[in-house]
């Protein structure tokens, strides 16, 4: 079923549709939310509140054909609101938020001796980035969202979203040169993608 139809069923009062949406997107929401707050209780409460509110307001919801960005945007707003309350920050301050993301390594391509060194390298690379840069990389390359959805979630226009990603990638690629060389030497990967060169 498409997102559009599922959303229509929800609006028509189908509790099963709510459950479907919940079970489809729970892991995504949790993973994303956990990077915006380290407080598990706040995150769990926010997810609970979000779905209760969606159900209560279902008749007033506008149509959507993309549920994921809608949910991510909503949980982001909720978490910011609760973080703001706790630390009594103003709207402006909260834009300098926290985003706790760590790059992971594909263990297939790195032997044990190199793992620790590579981990350190990746960590260093991530530390160069602002929270917003980390967030956009996470949404783009991990959650596989299109730019349009990211613009919606992060409140950016197309040009600033592109700039944010490009600058993040530029500063990352400076730091992960070594890592890329290891990766490029990896045979399985080469044969996988370059069959058509021969």
């Amino acid at each position: 079923m498409s997102d559009k139809e599922l959303w229509k069923q929800l609006k028509a009062g189908d509790r099963g549709a709510l459950e479907k949406i919940y079970s489809t997107h729970f892991t995504t929401l949790y993973n994303y939310g956990k990077k915006l707050t380290s407080d598990q209780g706040t995150l769990e409460d926010s997810i609970q509140e979000l779905f209760i509110e969606i159900w209560r307001n279902r008749e007033n919801l506008s149509d959507t054909d993309a549920i994921k960005p809608y949910l991510l945007l909503s949980i982001r707003r909720k978490l910011f609101r609760s973080i703001k309350k706790v630390r009594s920050l103003t709207d402006k301050e909260i834009t300098v938020h926290h985003f706790d993301a760590e790059l992971a390594i594909d263990e297939k391509i790195i032997d044990n001796e190199n793992t620790a060194a590579t981990k350190k390298q990746l960590q260093k690379a991530m530390e160069q980035l602002s929270p917003r840069q980390k967030e956009i990389l996470y949404l783009k390359y991990y959650s596989n969202m299109d730019y349009e959805s990211i613009m919606e979630v992060m409140g950016l226009n197309y040009q600033s979203a592109r700039n944010l990603v490009t600058r993040a990638i530029q500063s990352l690629s400076k730091y992960i040169q070594v890592f890329l060389i290891i990766f490029l030497a990896f045979d399985e990967y080469k044969s996988m993608r370059y069959a058509f060169y021969q």
């Binding site: 729970f26 769990e44 596989n144 990638i169 690629s173 890329l180």
Partner: protein
């Protein structure tokens, strides 16, 4: 497209169409990029680098505590059911969970009290194994620190069991029998098999018959002595006929491991004997291959630790490791 001729590796790596091609998200882009590369072979080094960037931006995924998804959903449902009758102030999940925890300490299952009338639930604590019969004479042996529930009233129409933790199932022939866990579900007709669902890991071992494991739209069929694990969202291939992978042997008093991290092995020990082990962080990820019997704690500890040259001491329920 003209613009791509001027692109740097970083610009490729941030281009939506390019990313979709690398990640195989959209078939429409693949023809375009395959052709483009054939026409511009001199761009290969740039493209290699851009692909490497895109493929390597992986993020660590969070470990979601067992039961979280279910607990929050139950709290949502409870709240929605209540408000459809009255308009009370709503208790949040955390509060109801704390209440439930306090209640379970008192030996009452208030937190689970909102199960329907036909719901049967069995929960085991540490150092506690239980065996139960289901209405059709199928049986479950439940390992320590686990919980199962099923609907007795609906059993005839719907053989479905929810599991958190670990259980060994012997299923009478009949209609489809389903074990649901947070991570995925296991479907059988009549067979025996072990399911473990803990710490974002689902492991299913088939002892007799055939078992179907469903996980995020993927299906794996297991024949006798085969098993499959899904660890942190990644499927690890089904091993065949490896004597050590028979996870279900715990119920015969034997725990077996084939390259399992020491911290996971120790968690089994803690559950089985209700002890606490202080495992030094630097050895937590060491891999253990072997087995131990669950009748004697000291012998088991000796089996586990001698390959690593580690010594241990037991004081009451606390075990300390020295290197």
């Amino acid at each position: 497209m003209e613009k791509y001729l001027q692109y740097t590796a970083e610009e490729f790596a941030t281009d939506e169409s390019f990313i979709n091609w690398v990640k195989k998200l959209d078939k429409n882009h693949s023809v375009f990029w395959d052709n483009w590369l054939r026409e511009n072979p001199n761009k290969k080094p740039l493209i290699d680098k851009a692909i490497a960037i895109v493929q390597n931006l992986r993020f660590r995924s969070e470990t979601i505590p067992t039961g979280t998804q279910k607990n929050i959903w139950q709290a949502i449902e409870k709240e929605l059911d209540q408000t459809e009758v009255t308009n009370k102030a709503r208790p949040l999940f955390r509060r109801s969970f704390a209440l439930g925890f306090a209640a379970s300490l008192l030996g009452a299952f208030i937190y689970f009290g909102f199960f329907g009338k036909g719901m049967i639930e069995v929960q085991t604590s540490y150092a506690d194994l239980q065996s139960i019969s289901l209405p059709d004479n199928s049986s479950i042996e439940i390992n320590a620190d686990s919980r199962i529930s099923y609907d007795k009233k609906e059993w005839k129409n719907n053989r479905e069991v929810h599991l958190e933790g670990e259980g060994f199932f012997e299923v009478e022939k009949g209609s489809s029998f389903v074990v649901k866990t947070d991570l995925g579900q296991v479907e059988v007709l009549g067979t025996s098999f072990n399911v473990m669902s803990r710490n974002n890991q689902l492991t299913v071992h088939c002892e007799t018959g055939r078992v179907l494991v469903k996980y995020q739209g993927q299906e794996t069929i297991l024949n006798p002595n085969q098993n499959v694990s899904i660890v942190n969202g990644r499927k690890q291939d089904a091993n065949e006929d490896n004597n050590l992978v028979d996870r279900g042997s715990w119920r015969k008093g034997l725990y077996k491991y084939d390259n399992v991290s020491l911290s996971d092995v120790i968690r089994d020990v803690e559950r089985h004997w209700g002890v606490q082990v202080e495992l030094p962080a630097n050895i937590a990820d060491e891999k253990f291959k072997g087995s131990y019997k669950s009748e004697n704690l000291e012998k088991a500890l000796a089996e586990i630790f001698w390959p690593f040259g580690l010594k241990y001491s037991i004081q009451d329920k606390n075990i300390t490791i020295t290197q």
